[in-house]
């Protein structure tokens, strides 16, 4: 799940300056779960923008926004409302906002696209509206060595060889409210009888695997 939150309304308003007619786009997946880009939020945004004198030419919740086919299909269906608008405000993650811009452009519906949310992290839904980061998408998963707890993400410094000197009573030096990832790993490894894994020297990570932008094309889809 891509965890996201709405940008401050004033910032959104500022980005729409000089534009009068706006088309709103949300997303049925992460943005809906994070309560920024579902039907309810789009309606709410519509109301708030109208109050500020904007005209909403229409809105749509894409299913999902990060899929090229979906954007193109739905945009063709809603062509009239979109063409009338000065710009599109996307209430979905940064990936969704770019997918909207890119695919609209591909079908010659070239519109200015504004991001309405800040994209935070890839997270787990702990419950309802409580999300926590568990994986940093590091391209070389080491969970096997760390009792299923990610040191790259749960340790603030992303250390691979055990806790720093700042670990104290299970908490991290940066914040007494924050669990020390290495304390969690230590306890888990001990519990499952794999503490010896903590003694193995871990090589420095290969950051060349993280060179951006990353692309993956499955075998069957290669031209």
């Amino acid at each position: 799940m891509i965890i996201q939150e709405q940008k401050p309304f004033d910032e959104i308003l500022q980005s729409l300056e000089g534009e009068e007619k706006i088309f709103l786009v949300g997303c049925s997946l992460c943005a809906t779960t994070c309560q920024v880009g579902g039907e309810d939020q789009l309606k709410e945004m519509e109301g708030k923008l109208k109050e500020k004198g904007k005209t909403i030419t229409g809105w749509i919740v894409l299913d999902p926004a990060c899929q090229a086919v979906e954007v193109k299909k739905k945009f063709r269906e809603r062509k009239e409302e979109i063409e009338k608008a000065d710009s599109i405000l996307v209430m979905a993650c940064g990936g969704g906002a770019q997918s909207v811009r890119e695919n609209a452009e591909r079908i010659k519906m070239n519109k200015i696209v504004h991001p309405g949310v800040n994209t935070l992290f890839q997270g787990e839904i702990i419950r309802g509206g409580h999300f926590e980061e568990r994986c940093s998408l590091c391209a070389e998963c080491v969970l096997e060595q760390t009792g299923g707890i990610c040191p790259i993400t749960r340790c603030t410094k992303g250390l691979l060889n055990g806790p720093c000197g700042g670990s104290s009573n299970g908490k991290c030096e940066v914040d007494p409210e924050r669990d020390c990832g290495w304390d969690l790993i230590y306890k888990r490894l001990k519990e499952i009888g794999q503490l010896e894994k903590m003694s193995e020297l871990r090589e420095a990570k290969d950051y060349s695997k993280l060179m951006k932008p990353r692309t993956l094309i499955l075998e069957g889809d290669k031209k």
Partner: protein, 290 residues
């Protein structure tokens, strides 16, 4: 006598710490170093300690070496990636700096530039491994070096960590990676140090007891609340509290001397962190006969 020789000859090793200035005025550092001269085997120079922007450790190491003092170059992984870290190790070697203390480094948000991008490309264990590789004539990428550096590699450990076992596991890894001596986080409770040394002495690598000079009761309380694994017993806090301001340096010296006496037979040296009270360091050493 150099730090390496002190350990090799079985002498009780002494180091003290200075912090580079925030700015270009080195007078305070140089005054402290003059005071330490001839009394300690090495002087640690901190590397943007507590993530506060300051003059760099390497430059100050070089300048104090020119004054005839043996520097201990502290290197953290917070601000440099593996290219810059290895390069700085070569820089140190070119300047004749042999002692390198490899640390992870405090997190960026704890300092005065919380917005800075934290690096942590390597951790302290990997930094030690990199230094050993350089000594053996190649860099982390396996490329041959023209001329090898030579280091005396140190690392840190926190005897007060709770639980202690993960610290000990990491300590052992640091030794496997190349650590030749350890300096500890500040210890104020001999029973904590004893519990730690019972385990750590098995590794047969010299350990230097870390002592931070207490400046006031408030500072002690602050450390108890904010510095991981540091525990100042209530009795010491009370002692500082009862002491009028002008007598505090004397009191602090007395406490340090007492702590060193109580713990010195358990370890191979002492690392003094006076936090700007460097001029009182000789009094501590006099009091313990070192």
């Amino acid at each position: 006598m150099r730090l390496r020789e002190a350990f090799e000859s079985g002498k009780f090793a002494l180091t003290a710490e200075v912090a580079p200035p925030k700015g270009t005025d080195l007078s305070h550092v140089m005054e402290e170093v003059e005071v330490f001269k001839g009394r300690v085997h090495g002087v640690n120079v901190t590397d943007l300690q507590s993530s506060v922007m300051k003059m760099g450790s390497l430059t100050v190491c070089h300048l104090i070496k020119d004054k005839g003092v043996e520097p201990v170059f502290q290197v953290t992984c917070r601000d440099r990636n593996r290219l810059a870290l290895q390069s700085d190790l070569l820089n140190a070697s070119a300047l004749g700096i042999e002692n390198v203390l490899c640390l992870t480094g405090d997190y960026t948000t704890l300092g005065d530039h919380p917005q800075a991008k934290p690096v942590f490309d390597l951790d302290s264990v990997q930094l030690l491994q990199a230094a050993v590789k350089l000594q053996n004539g190649e860099d982390m990428a396996g490329e041959k070096l023209e001329g090898n550096p030579k280091f005396f590699l140190g690392a840190v450990v926190n005897p007060g960590a709770d639980p202690l076992e993960p610290q000990l596991i990491k300590m052992e890894k640091k030794i496997k990676a190349g650590a030749q001596f350890f300096q500890t986080q500040a210890v104020y409770d001999p029973s904590i140090f004893e519990r730690f040394m019972k385990e750590a002495s098995k590794f047969k690598v010299p350990v230097m007891l870390g002592i931070v000079m207490l400046k006031s009761a408030g500072m002690a309380k602050y450390m108890n609340e904010n510095v991981a694994g540091v525990f100042v017993p209530d009795a010491l806090i009370a002692e500082m509290k009862e002491t009028p301001k002008e007598d505090r340096p004397k009191k602090s010296v007395e406490i340090c001397a007492r702590l060193i006496k109580e713990m010195k037979d358990m370890c191979q040296g002492v690392h003094l962190m006076p936090l700007g009270w460097g001029k009182h360091v000789p009094a501590i050493l006099d009091a313990v006969g070192l």
